[in-house]
Amino acid sequence: MGIGRFIIRTLAIVGFATIGAGVHALIVPVRTGIVLPPRAGGTARAQENQALPTEQTPDTAPLNDAPQNDAAITPPADTDAPDLSPSQPLPAGAALTIDVDALDVHVSVPEAFALWSEGLADFVDTRPQPEFEAGAIPGAFHITPEAIANGLAEEQLQFLDPTRPIVVYCVGGDCHESEYVGVLLQQRGFERVHILSDGFPGWHAAGHDVQVGGGQ
């Protein structure tokens, strides 16, 4: 008797929660992740191995001895996937190639560097303000999850082009912020959202330029 009623009550709690969860899912649906639009088949190709996007130059500061603006990308001739290692410098003026449409949701540091150096994408830093000011990818917009969820990032979002790829990053690993912000960006009409898998630590470790002091 006692155990029977106890079990019934336990199941009733779970049942109530299940009903609540079902109704909640209907009222507030979630997106299961970032979904890229179907591949258009186009290949974005940079014209020159030029330095940085124009607005990103002044505040940049290299943090180590890795090669800087002349770090380039050499697409191997016999494979579809280019070797995007930044450690392989090309002579100045050599062309860079990256197929933007072929990128996965998660991009590697070399892929992100190619997008950045060719000015093919906007970058969004989702880390807290102190970390952003301590060092960020040059030219990155600072949009935290809290800001975008609470509608405080509208001004920043106006500067983002919905037609351009956006690379979102946080501290790498399984940090939530980048995917969360990426999903919210897609909900706001930004189609091509990518996540930098290794985050800023991966970028920094690769020896790429870092912007100190915050920016956008």
């Binding site: 006692g2 939530h176 999903v183």
Partner: protein, 188 residues
Amino acid sequence: MSTSAPTAARRVPGPIESTAMLALRVLLAALFGFAAWVKLRDPQYFLTSVKGFRLIPEIMQVQVTYLVPWIEAACAVLLLLGLWTRAAAVVLSLAIVGFIAGLFEVVQAGRSVECGCFGKFSFICDKGPLGWCNIAQNAGLLICAVVLVIRGGGRAALDWALDRPGHASGENGDLPLAKAVDPRSRHA
């Protein structure tokens, strides 16, 4: 213990025990109520946490995202009221055991995962990658819940008020070790 009556009389918790049980109920209700609120308010963020654990099959991630906070909310309300206390504490204990198992797996694997336990907030343990602190925190909560399973909600609970002779079924959903006997009859 006052359960030495020959008829397996229901133990009457004293004022200190009742106060302690009330404190445990309020503590668990506050923590899990808050945890449920932040998850219910922003299920999208909690989904990223669920996915980050990489322990739940993809097909079940959305269901878990909605179900966990509703279980937490239901248990929090029941614990706060002291209604169906033992049943709520059991459900919560099972949930916490699941949390600990997941945390243990992540920490053992050395993966850098952030806890979505309290949304973007954190208590006791620093916000950041999961660690042993989070496991210890959940173990503490598990102990609190198990104590409630064993001892019940105390006298400052609806269970106790509804479990008087001529008022209810006489067992308030408790485990059979707590058979109801009118406490006043023991002194008659």
